[in-house]
């Protein structure tokens, strides 16, 4: 009874951890949190003057709402960057006017699931994750003993238990050590 109820209780969070786990396992192949896009632009050479003048030119040329500008930065002798709200950015060569309009968007659901899985938010979530882990330990242990007879630990269950144990033991022994 307890095994069933706790199993239902942790089902949603187990899915969150599993889906996020697959997502972050492949972090070298894709970004599980953000999507990036960029568009080439050419606004012509920027006028000589102060950096705020250059910023105003960029904003006007691209018809950007001036209120959305967060700041600017002269990255190199020629590379001028203007930062905007919504994680948008204009990066432009001041001599040629060529550059990129960059956008970053969070991956819906993945961003939130990864933040929970990796405990980015700390605080109370640390305790919730600990409780969740204890419940999973409970499920794992009770799951071993839940069946009796030929289906249980004294029957075929022991072989599956052993097979599940072999995987981490083999990797610990031959790969990690």
């Amino acid at each position: 009874m307890l095994h069933r109820d706790i199993g239902n209780f942790v089902a949603a969070l187990t899915l969150v951890y599993c889906i996020s786990g697959i997502a972050v396992n492949h972090i070298e192949d894709w970004n599980p949190n953000y999507q990036f896009s960029q568009e080439e632009i050419n606004i012509g050479a920027l006028p000589e003057g102060s950096y705020p003048d250059m910023q105003r030119y960029v904003v006007k040329s691209l018809d950007i709402d001036p209120a959305s500008v967060r700041g600017h930065f002269m990255e190199t002798d020629s590379q001028f960057r203007v930062f905007l709200d919504n994680t948008e950015e204009v990066s432009v060569d001041i001599h040629t006017g060529q550059g990129l309009f960059k956008q970053v968007k969070t991956r819906a659901l993945f961003y939130e699931m990864n933040a929970l899985h990796l405990n980015n938010i700390k605080g109370a979530w640390t305790w919730i994750a600990d409780i969740f882990a204890v419940l999973l330990i409970f499920l794992a242990i009770t799951g071993i003993f839940i069946m009796n007879g030929r289906q249980g630990l004294t029957g075929r269950g022991k072989w599956f238990l052993a097979a599940g144990l072999v995987v981490p033991v083999v990797f610990s022994w031959f790969v990690i050590a």
Binding site: F9, N33, K122
Partner: protein
């Protein structure tokens, strides 16, 4: 009497009670600075300009500094570093934390920030300098020409203990 349902109810109730009395997150609004506090935050000490450290990193090696600037880049994969620009054009400092210790969101770009940590310098050979630039280029998703780095150099980072990222943009 259904003990299973009662147990589930009690667990959910317990979690709600727990949540109601707990701190929610470590990154919370900082009353004085109007921003999100990460890690240990920052102490009320005088800030050092990023361009001063960049000009002579060895002079600050091992010292704890507080710096201020605009966030120009964020680690896109793990949120484990931010780059702060301040002072002279092109002067930037990489503020690095251990993976998971603090996680900076991409939305921090363009915001003003105050950060504190220990300056760590490293003298790189030509080969190592190229490898580092190649790594940075890969992180930023841009092409890198090894020939653009022609000599070894001393680089620095700030090993972070805390930061406050402002709610407003650097120009607000």
């Amino acid at each position: 009497m259904l003990p299973g349902k009662n147990l589930t109810f009690l667990i959910i109730l317990g979690l709600f009670i727990f949540l109601s009395v707990s701190e929610t997150i470590s990154a919370e609004p900082a009353a004085k600075t109007g921003g999100q506090v990460y890690g240990a935050g920052v102490e009320n000490i005088e800030s050092v300009s990023i361009s001063a450290i960049a000009a002579d990193p060895e002079a600050y090696n091992g010292k704890t500094v507080r710096v201020e600037g605009m966030v120009t880049d964020v680690c896109a994969k793990r949120g484990c570093w931010i780059e702060l620009a301040g002072g002279a054009s092109g002067a930037k400092a990489r503020f690095k934390v251990a993976d998971g210790e603090m996680v900076f969101p991409m939305s921090a770009k363009g915001r003003s920030a105050v950060a504190q940590g220990r300056v760590v310098t490293e003298t790189l050979s030509l080969e190592d300098a190229r490898a580092l630039e190649a790594h940075f280029a890969k992180e930023a998703g841009r092409e890198f020409d090894p020939e653009s780095v022609t000599e070894g150099r001393t680089v620095f980072r700030i090993q972070g203990t805390g930061a406050v990222i402002g709610d407003a943009g650097a120009d607000d």
